[in-house]
Amino acid sequence: MSFIKKPRINHPGLDTNAVGLTIQDYEGAMSTLCAGCGHDSVSSAIVQAYYELAIEPHRVAKLSGIGCSSKTPTYFLRPAHGFNSVHGRMPSIATGASAANRDLHYIGISGDGDSLSIGLGQFCHAIRRNVDMFYVIENNGVYGLTKGQFSASADVGSPARKGGGTNEIPPIDPVLTAINFGCSFVARGFSGDKTTLVPLIKAAILHRGFALLDVISPCVTFNDHEGSTKSYLHTREFEQTAVYADFVPIRDEITASVDTHVTPVTLHDGSQIHLRTVDPDYDPFDRDSVVAYLREHQNKGQIVTGLLFVDETAPDMLTLSSTTQTPLVDLSFDTLNPGAAALKTLQKQWR
């Protein structure tokens, strides 16, 4: 198989965004995933979000591990640099990349196997450092690419597709895990619900710090059957959106909202998200109450979605380490090299 080229047809009538690009400029190569795979819907929501935010695609760096999900960076933002790394270790690549050039937008795409099995350590540590990136877990409860083994997010009692028994080991919930490790932005979406997904993605992109988006993204080939808790059917039935995020671009006039339970959150670039909580008691700024709410609903079998927690004040990794605002890659060699004279002086101590 070689790289499949997607025919690029320019519709002259296509709308352009604030940087003069059409949505086609944000697309990627033709997907080679299974027809109906949830991951493709996520890619399309990502395309939409970057287009709407009018971020120049070549200022985005797309990273991933290994898995069907991790293939998707090929399928969006063709003019962005991408790095399809090794299984489970994308967080470290992203951490280093961000250290070297803080001015790019980082998006990391991962799967539940990639992030919660082999990659759990790196995932948690990247969260803990609050690396400035948008991190997506395309969560389908299975290892898609290796043909359907249970992943660490498979729910107890979830039956395997072909008589492989049911999963007995408790699942890892990326959302609760992220909150436990101090994540500064935690959201959950559903690949089947693009309308609520796009604003979540936009907020996540603009959040400074680690923004986790866990997307239930059904694997039609291995985990969309009856009984599967990661199927389209099950997710549709049990999804409960707790917090809607309405994205308000910086260019739009930001007016005080009249809705009930609406809280505006100002992002680092000045744009806002308006959080509409369904439950008046839900406080998306209080980690502890969010945990309590999530656990309670999880116990009832509900899949809580939305922008569940956000802390815009948490300093990100490079802030914590006082790294200069200039991307390190842009520093001139003269700035970096102390020179011969300094070397001479320095060496006195070693005599």
């Binding site: 790289f3 991408g82 470290s92 070297a100 790019l104 200069t324 390190l328 060496q347």
Partner: protein, 603 residues
């Protein structure tokens, strides 16, 4: 070798307990001798433990400026009752044994061939100082004072060193001086000073410094312009990042705002450490990591990725004794094969082999240039002996006209004019392609991947496209052989013996060659500084019927690499192996060579 009447040529070993702060006393002692113009080498033997176990520090005073252990002990300062008896045994005949005789031990006075000098060090220190910690520390300084009398160390030099060390902390200077004086006086009063083994000013250390390899390597990284460093603590590589951090704080921090023109990340493990360095290097920063054996094993998956995706990366492996956890505080050169072929599949990596701290500095800079130029990982194989011991080196020099060689990179302006950018196209026929940097220009965009890819960087599962890339990578490795630092060759007319070696073996080999010369055996010597081997290595070996390959591992790893990569037959490469974990000494080499020669086999 007799130990009598040896001016400026003997070994002092201090036996202590770790955690008792003898390091500063020993360093004071060594530096004082060094400042007297007499070459010295310091070797630290410490346990993998924090406190309470036996530790030794060895200072070789060597008027001939040898760099390695002599293999003998002439003067033992025994401060650790637990090892007294072993320490006494280890002194060579004619030597001197000094011990803390606060509690006198008659059994230590039994060797007739060794001069035993009891000094009640604890008692002296306890009488002069108060406070448990101070007393322990001052006891150490007291033996420095005693040695000053016994060996004729310049008291002024000691004083000046103390003043420099403690700058304006007068109280500390005073107490140290007092301790020195107490020890000095005691020795003068009780013993015949000086000993026949003693010091006498020379002028052989001018323009030199005493430095360890990790500090020097870190300094090299600073001077090469490395901005991102990621690491995970592991002995004996930790001090490299400690030093890098210190230098960056000093040279790269905006004094007003406190912002840092660098980013150092203590990773959660070695897999993350190398991943971070790779991510930064992919983005165009000079980035590096540093580790030791177990870390190399853990980094092996990522090394394969870096090889196949062609990302520049600098990795320091400060080797220690393996396998597995092994002996973390002992030295060895046993990661040669694992580093050369790290990772599954057909992979091979560029290696550099510094032989001393000065070369650590120099090759650190070379490593960054090579990594950028070759777009591949460059592994600098140092070891514990180089990395953590203080070596005398010529002062480090820097040429301000140096500019980094960032290799083949298309920046935005070039990309703009390009018809089509193909990441893995061999434009120049040397196997090295042009890369682009993320964020620079839309036309430079491609998705880098560890899976099969073609010239354009696109995914492929086609044999022909895959083979094309693999063959070019092989060609690139041939190019590497022309770019890496060549061997250092020393030829003697009509040499009887030929030696090939690398890294920290250098000092012991220099000394071996002198000993051989004394026996009328002239020798040729080639010191390998890099893998892949350049042509000179092959032709040197070809020009000798047999060559001794000296290295510090059990499995003759350098020799193996020479055989596979140059095709030279085994019987022409005589292994000389030491793998006990102590820094190499000529005594570990010379007998093997002499024995072979006796059997008429060498040359």
């Amino acid at each position: 070798m007799a130990t009598q009447d040896r001016v400026n040529d003997f070994v002092i070993r201090i036996a202590t307990v770790n955690g008792t702060g003898s390091a500063s006393a020993n360093s004071l002692l060594m530096k004082a001798i060094f400042r007297m113009g007499i070459p010295v080498v310091g070797k630290n033997y410490f346990p993998s433990n924090i406190q309470g176990l036996p530790t030794w520090y060895e200072i070789r005073v060597t008027k001939d400026a040898y760099l390695s252990r002599s293999g003998h002990i002439d003067i033992m300062v025994a401060m650790n009752a637990q090892t007294y008896s072993d320490d006494l045994i280890s002194v060579q005949s004619g030597g001197v044994f000094i011990y803390d005789s606060t509690r006198r031990r008659e059994e230590l006075h039994t060797r007739t061939d060794v001069t035993v000098l009891p000094i009640p060090l604890s008692e002296l220190a306890n009488n002069a100082f108060t406070g448990a910690r101070t007393r322990i520390l001052m006891r150490n300084v007291t033996y420095v004072g005693a040695l000053a009398a016994l060996l004729e160390i310049d008291l002024d030099t000691l004083k000046q060193l103390l003043e420099e060390t403690f700058s304006n902390k007068q109280a500390l200077i005073d107490s140290n001086l007092t301790a020195i004086q107490i020890g000095y006086n005691y020795a003068r009063e009780q013993f015949n000073c000086p000993l026949s083994m003693r010091l006498s000013r020379l002028d052989k250390t001018a323009g030199h410094i005493m430095i360890d390899g990790n500090t020097a390597a870190a300094l090299g990284c600073v001077y090469a312009g490395a901005t991102v460093g990621s690491w995970y603590p592991i002995t004996p590589s930790t001090s490299l990042f400690d030093a890098f951090t210190d230098f960056c704080k000093r040279f790269r921090t905006d004094t007003e705002s406190g912002t840092q023109n660098y980013c150092i990340i203590q990773a959660e493990d070695e897999l993350a450490a190398i991943g971070m360095a790779l991510g930064a290097a992919w983005n165009g920063a000079r980035a590096f990591t540093s580790t030791s054996g177990p870390g190399i094993s853990l980094m092996s998956e990522f090394l394969g990725l870096a090889y196949f995706t062609e990302i520049p990366l600098v990795l320091f492996d400060i080797q220690r004794v393996g396998p597995s956890t092994g002996m973390p505080t002992r030295t060895q050169q046993s990661d040669i094969l694992s580093a050369a072929y790290a990772s599954h599949g057909d992979t091979r990596h560029v290696l550099l082999f510094p032989s001393d701290p000065a070369e650590c500095f120099e090759l650190a800079v070379t490593a960054f240039d090579l990594a950028d130029r070759l777009q591949t990982p460059v592994i600098v194989l140092s070891d514990l002996d180089i990395g953590m011991n203080d070596w005398p080196c010529p002062e480090l020099r820097w040429d301000d006209t140096y500019r980094p060689d960032y290799g083949k990179v298309y920046r935005a302006n070039e990309l703009r004019d390009l018809e089509r950018f193909q990441r893995y196209l061999d434009v120049d026929g040397d196997g090295i392609c042009y890369r682009s940097l993320p964020g620079d220009h839309p036309r430079g965009a491609y998705l880098i991947r560890g899976s099969g890819h073609n010239q354009a960087g696109a995914y492929t599962e086609r044999s022909d496209e895959y083979i094309e890339v693999m063959d070019r990578l092989r060609r690139k490795f041939d190019t590497a052989a022309t770019l890496v630092p060549g061997p250092i060759i020393e030829r003697t007319p009509n040499a009887d013996v030929a030696i090939v070696s690398l890294g920290s073996c250098h000092g012991a080999i220099q000394e071996t060659r002198d000993r051989l010369a004394e026996k009328g055996l002239a020798s040729d010597y080639l010191r390998i500084r890099a893998f892949p081997f350049c042509d000179d290595v092959r032709s040197f070996i070809d020009s000798h019927p047999r060559v001794f390959v000296v290295e510090q591992n059990r499995d003759a790893q350098l020799r193996s690499l020479l055989m596979t990569e140059t095709g030279i037959a085994a019987d022409r490469l005589v292994p000389v192996l030491y793998y006990g974990g102590e820094p190499l000494s000529s005594v570990d080499i010379i007998d093997v060579i002499l024995e072979e020669i006796k059997q008429g086999k060498a040359a």
